[in-house]
Symmetry: C2
Subunit: 206 residues, 2 copies
Amino acid sequence: MSTLSTKERILNTTEQLIADKGFSGISIRKISHAAQTNLAAINYHFGNKQQLINAVLERRLNNLFDIRQKMLNDLNQGKKKACVLEQVLHAFIAPALYMINDKNQGGKTFMLVLARAYAEQGEYLHQLMTTRYTNTIKKFADAIHRSVPHLDKETVFWRFHFIIGSLTYAMSDFGASSISKQMSESDYFNRSVDELIQFAVQALQA
Amino acid sequence: MSTLSTKERILNTTEQLIADKGFSGISIRKISHAAQTNLAAINYHFGNKQQLINAVLERRLNNLFDIRQKMLNDLNQGKKKACVLEQVLHAFIAPALYMINDKNQGGKTFMLVLARAYAEQGEYLHQLMTTRYTNTIKKFADAIHRSVPHLDKETVFWRFHFIIGSLTYAMSDFGASSISKQMSESDYFNRSVDELIQFAVQALQA
DNA sequence: GTCTATAAGCCGATAGAC
DNA sequence: GTCTATCGGCTTATAGAC
């Protein structure tokens, strides 16, 4: 931990501060202080504040969509024609939720950042979603449609859209309030994965 | 329009600016300029910035939950025992979406504000939801459970939670990007109401 | 109620020493 | 690569005239 470079410390600290306080609650002054460095170091490594935020987002988003795409590819490999709905939804939802649960990698913190970014509708994230990741999202929509061919294509797209909303909302809820405070964090997480996938399956089945 | 008091102009302007730029994008200087008044007037009428934001939220939230509660009461009046799932969900979802469509009342603008507020997990809104409105939310959860008695209570609560997420996400999407840019705003809205309610019904049925 | 003027402080960015 | 010092600008809040 103590061997992290200044650049890595700045990225991790920024991620944590955005998760805690939101994009509106951060300043590069606070970040530099929390990362035990100084203002100039941040501008030296990242240029300016916006490029720092972009770096925090990009560091993990590519990884998330790579995992989703790979899991989808693995499904399609065995059986080209039919898609099992539950497996497709699992390939989309689980990587996000498991990233939350991977405490060592800081994925939980990032998912809180991502939930906030979705909500703020920032131009940068919106641009990423409609360019770099739009291909993967469309492939998932197609795979879902193939698993429920009796639904028309537009309905599938709407419901996939709503499910992304549920996932986003669920993500932003981790770390905040639990529905039942009697559950441990780990139990709450595992229950969420199951409930969300079953919810999504049910919403798309006939 | 021109007969609005300074206080009303400040509230309307603040609502609009939050919808456009987010809570992080506003300042009482910008608000005072857009409302064609001055800094001191805002502090005179509202005390400080946070109280102004609270006033914007409270002005319409009571109205929204009153309508939801009233629609639910009307349903229960006729038939005390059974609840039709679709009608209960309609009583919860439709008031929010129709408030969006009521252009004269500025409800659409407020729904964008509300979607941002949900996402930011601000303390004030969270406090309101877990105190003033928690009663209505529980009554809806109970009514939903009575309409799908074969599901266990916890599952119902989880899925209701996810549906709120979908609704929030859908709301924040209005005014931003349309799924199909060929649709008019009005068509897009009506389609959203139908699709969201059908989505919710499907997600909760056996 | 409305306004101007001002106080006191945080902001991002950069120049320049080491 | 890391740091201090500093610039110009924007922020909230308030004092006091009208």
